[in-house]
């Protein structure tokens, strides 16, 4: 069987790419190793309850009618109506550091006034930072690659404010330890502070189901339990893909959302091709409450917290790092009707290797201990909900690795992104997280961009020319 395009992975980027290609009449097949779709942002059932794997909030929220920005772009490119995603905006979030809290909502003015109020000396610097972020263009590559820490330090002197700004951006999208490049910093700053956070009442499954339905209606083929084991190459191209069961598939083009390093391994890429794997992974705890969180005083949507003098963004030495984390109450969005049950989710940095080395018994105990430590850490920043927990679950870097195949359970992939999407093989392209756009919205944009650029627009060699040509329109 031969396809115009084969896509590796039915995560958000693979599905978005698939829709674009199927829409334009390409014969396209998505191969997914797992038994279900969604990848890093899937959903599952446990003891009769539905849980989302990843979703805290969708970033990049803009209200209906907005014509600019990544959300508008996704809707247009995938031919979705705004209503199809059924997004409800956040109630309000906070960055909580020792002695100071900064609130933010989807109205940037609140965040701005909070910064002005708590850091009056940094007012001008913050404005300079905000305008640099607004002016930032992806096409300005020299600026994109610069150290965001160094650039921000040029505007803002107080390291506390610097750390408070970096904390949410790193938790929601930095594959790189310690620092971010200014391009990624700008993209994340816009997506969280200038645009905003939202969630569909029904969770990520609503988005995934809409994507799959659209893909199949357009004639796309989705194969689950169809992992790609190897890509056989001939004359600088992928000749065929060999699946886990030994069967083969051919495609004119291959788009892979499996990760850059992981993809290179499948096709025996030259050593120089594959950068290092990402190191940053998470433990996520989920607690179901017998009450709506707001009734207990947990009324914020997301709280990014840190208890130390400085905020540390690197792989922990130990199993987990409980100094900082993200607390999310999926209940606290402006829904028309409340969610059925209360829920508190917490994300904390974790070390894949430390988890991997544990025996099954040690693992079970460590998971329980991590749940307790993380929640004990979090209740310093929100009212203590722990006596109201009626069910819980915890997943670790090894869970993430097992279900998504990403090395080290690295949620944001490798720090060395492949912006062009191209590889040493002429018909193999990278999409999703390792192309450089992360998060639910980012990775969908990536799938769309790569499908457009490398499959639909193959007659046009140079993207810069297209952009230049259309700038004249």
């Amino acid at each position: 069987m031969s396809y115009d395009a084969v896509i590796i992975g039915a995560g958000l980027s693979g599905l978005a790419a698939g829709i674009r290609l199927a829409y334009y009449g390409k014969r396209v097949c998505i191969l997914e190793r797992h038994t279900t779709i969604g990848g890093l942002n899937s959903f599952y059932r446990l003891a009769g309850r539905q849980f989302d794997v990843g979703l805290h909030a969708m970033t990049n929220f803009t209200p209906k009618g907005t014509r600019k920005g990544p959300l508008a772009r996704i809707l247009r490119q995938l031919r979705f109506r705004w209503e199809d995603l059924a997004l409800s905006p956040q109630v309000g979030s906070q960055i909580a550091f020792p002695g100071v809290g900064l609130s933010f909502t989807n109205d940037f003015e609140l965040f701005r006034s909070q910064v002005h109020e708590h850091f009056p000396a940094e007012k001008d610097g913050f404005e300079k930072l905000a305008s640099a972020v607004i002016d930032y263009s992806d096409l300005n590559e020299p600026v994109a690659a610069q150290s965001a820490r160094a650039m921000v330090a040029g505007w803002i002197k107080d390291p506390l404010l610097v750390d408070m700004i970096f904390c949410p951006l790193q938790f929601y999208g930095s594959a790189r330890e310690h620092d971010m490049d200014f391009g990624q910093f700008s993209v994340m700053f816009r997506s969280i502070f200038l645009e905003g956070l939202a969630r569909p009442w029904a969770g990520v499954r609503l988005i995934l189901k809409n994507l799959v339905r659209r893909f199949k209606l357009l004639g796309g083929e989705l194969r689950l339990r169809a992992g790609v084991r190897q890509m056989v190459t001939e004359q600088g191209r992928v000749a065929r893909l060999v699946l886990d069961d030994g069967s083969s598939i051919e495609g004119q083009n291959v788009l892979s959302s499996a990760g850059l390093v992981e993809t290179m391994r499948m096709c025996g890429g030259p050593s120089g091709e594959a950068p290092e794997s990402g190191q940053l992974s998470f433990v996520e705890t989920l607690s179901v409450l017998d009450e709506q969180p707001s009734t207990l005083g947990c009324d914020r949507t997301i709280i990014f917290y840190n208890d130390s003098d400085r905020f540390h963004w690197h792989r922990p030495e130990e199993l987990i790092d409980v100094r900082s984390g993200v607390i999310c109450c999926p209940n606290n969005f402006e829904y028309e009707q409340p969610l059925g049950e209360g829920m508190v989710r917490i994300t904390a940095l974790a070390n894949y290797d430390a988890w991997r080395k544990l025996s099954p018994e040690e693992y079970r105990a460590a998971k329980q201990a991590a749940y307790e430590q993380i929640n004990a850490s979090a209740v310093r920043f929100v009212p203590d909900y722990r006596s109201r927990v009626i069910a819980d679950d915890t997943f670790t870097p090894t869970t993430i690795k097992r279900f998504t195949g990403h090395d080290n359970g690295a949620v944001y992939g490798t720090p060395q992104k492949r912006r062009s999407g191209t590889t040493h093989l002429k018909n193999l392209f990278i999409c999703g997280t390792d192309q450089g756009l992360v998060g639910i919205v980012g990775t969908m944009v990536s799938g769309i961009l790569m499908a457009n650029r490398h499959v639909l627009e193959t007659s046009r060699e140079d993207e810069a020319e297209i952009i230049a040509a259309s700038a004249e329109i």
Binding site: G65, R76, E457, A469, E472, I473
Partner: protein, 86 residues
Amino acid sequence: MSPPEIKEAILDILESIAPDEDVTNVKDDVPLREQLELDSMDFLDIVMELRKRYRVQIPEDDYVQLATINSTVEYLAPLMKDLQKA
């Protein structure tokens, strides 16, 4: 296809690209880029939709012709005159 039919075809395409827009309000002589804030990806989509629906190929150098509804219709008229309305 006659020029009014071509205009209708373009509005259909715009409607499919931006389902939330009311395309009946689109002005014929104001750049689409301004009115609908279309970006380069959207213009590529218009080109690809024309190719998909009517098999019209538009070379890259001619994208500038797609600035407004009027200029697009004018540009497409000779290319689409022999086509039947879809």
